[in-house]
Symmetry: C2
Subunit: 343 residues, 2 copies
């Protein structure tokens, strides 16, 4: 038997009021300003509510009150642990101000992203946090224009028409390569792609900066471009590196993210290349699986939870304060050295 008896629709405040012998307004007061109603009445009403199985209708509440109690995070790819950690950070912040967080997964599709945004706007959510498929999409602008606070997470936009939180990827790239230089490597690979992704380009730039600042010849930093930031592509890149003649083969690789690094590591192990003796590896993101890899991975850590928390704070500020001004927050990454580079 599915649910309630046929014909019975769920009880409304009106039913509760009748059952408790009070007016409609009093029931509402019990719900929203319990202190304004006398203890006896309050209890009578609450009793009626539970007797009738009353469940407040959020649509009606929101329609009348004009405010919603939810925040949304549109994530780029829920299967990347990095983003779920960011989401956890947002959740923590949302929880502390008693807002619910709903997650939407665009799964890398601009089309899905669009339809999620449309629905969220119709739902009048308090704010939208998003790691967009395409940071410069005009759809975001329009959404903000029409009055929904929007914060861009882990991406930056050319203009400053939004709040955003991100991590300094150029610095991250520099840290990684400086570490490898410290360890004495003279021939290093940068593994990442596609090149048009902001992250990939910025990390490469940082790597190049550090490389030339150390006075190394440009062509000793070899770029290995991949088609995506996945474990599979990392393995693939491993094969390509292995194919190089020994003289030109790098002794270390800096990967644009940990998934690539894990793939590369796997290729190395399965083909008998010792890590880090023959090939040192640096990843990026420091997801939990990095520390837990067969050879624990040196990685550039991004403050994932903090990223999320901060983004949530910005969106809340924008939604609450009339004199809000947009801010671009840039966090500093940190290198975590582990066995994959430490002989």
């Amino acid at each position: 038997m599915p649910g309630r008896e046929p014909g019975a629709r769920s009880a409304s405040v009106k039913d509760v009021a009748a059952a408790a012998g009070v007016s409609l307004g009093t029931v509402s007061n019990v719900l929203n300003r319990p202190d304004r109603v006398s203890p006896e009445t309050r209890e009578r009403v609450q009793r009626a509510m539970s007797d009738l199985g009353f469940v407040r209708n959020e649509s009606a509440r929101q329609l009348r009150a004009g405010t919603s109690r939810t925040l949304a995070y549109v994530m780029l790819d829920a299967s990347n642990p990095f983003f779920t950690d960011v989401a956890a950070g947002i959740d923590t912040a949302a929880e502390s101000v008693d807002l619910a967080l709903v997650l939407c997964n665009s799964r890398n599709s601009a089309q899905r992203e669009r339809s999620h945004l449309a629905l969220l706007e119709q739902q009048r959510v308090q704010g939208v946090l998003i790691t967009p498929v395409e940071p410069d999409s005009p759809a975001l602008e329009e959404l903000a224009q029409r009055g929904t606070p929007v914060v861009v997470v882990d991406r930056t936009r050319a203009d400053q028409s939004f709040c955003s939180v991100a991590v300094d990827d150029v610095l991250g790239g520099r840290l990684a390569v400086e570490h490898l230089l410290d360890r004495g490597h003279t021939r290093v690979a940068y593994v990442g792609g596609p090149r048009h992704l902001g992250q990939v380009a910025d990390r490469l730039r940082g790597a190049r900066d550090a490389w030339s600042a150390a006075g190394r010849p440009e062509d000793a930093l070899v770029e290995v471009e991949t088609a995506a930031l996945t474990v599979n592509e990392g393995r693939e890149a491993g094969a390509r590196l292995a194919g190089l003649p020994a003289r030109r083969r790098p002794t270390a690789a800096f990967c644009a993210n940990d998934l690539l690094a894990l793939g590369l590591l796997q290729h190395a192990i399965s083909s008998g290349v010792r890590v880090p003796e023959e090939l040192a590896i640096v990843g990026y993101d420091d997801i939990d699986f990095a520390a837990a890899a067969a050879v624990p991975l040196t990685s550039v850590r991004q403050p994932r939870q903090l990223l999320g928390r901060t983004a949530a704070e910005l969106v809340l500020d924008e939604s609450a304060n009339a004199d809000h001004t947009h801010r671009q927050v840039l966090f500093t990454p940190e290198l975590v050295a582990r066995a994959s580079t430490l002989g």
Copy 2:
């Protein structure tokens, strides 16, 4: 400047109607039954909508129409790739019937789970899919009782008062151990815990069944209980196994999930134990990281996406068909043999 000019609230159908010189009802028709309105009028109205930046108010729509366009999945732990894959399956099904999916993450907390459920019920979502912290919680029952379709995902309940989809964990345990028996192992560890989790218990039961069916002595299947199903606990378990005297040390381990198996693998590699020659490992779930591990992991695969899709279909059936009857769907797992057990 945050959003629209002060004072301007978003346009309503009424505004659109006025701007287009038609009645309210016509605007609604354009929105909901565009074929009923003449092409010229329709266009005029649509033009007015975009001029005014009209965004339909979903609360009002839902209040009047009485139906919501969303499905919800309350996940146990968004950072476990297994659940995000299940979510992707649900999403696919939801998309095909034009429902939006919102994800909530209870992060293993019964309290968070409760508050998510309460809000979802108030929002009158079309249905709730959930992997509960505690499958036998009465809260689920009450929710269903009051009329929200509920489907339990990847768990089973003692009674049959819900639809549920799960995978046959007893069979999965059997498959794993049969495989190890085939490979000639005579001393095997079962790594998992805490024991009160349904999954952990069922997989152990299957393992024992296979073991005794093969006529092996009971005490040659050693149980290693862990405090949680995480990578860290897996490493920990590795240390415990290594501590056993060689005579009593198992030559293979069957882990209750892949995270444990990955941790165990990591411990083995870092302490020089060869996999699979000295220690064969079987995981469970076959998450993507399993195939991508340093030594690709043999694992018991669950049809994750299918699990999600099926759950979504059940909840939709329950929400649409008055004569719906609850079903408990049990899928069959499948062993995927890889290098971690294949010499």
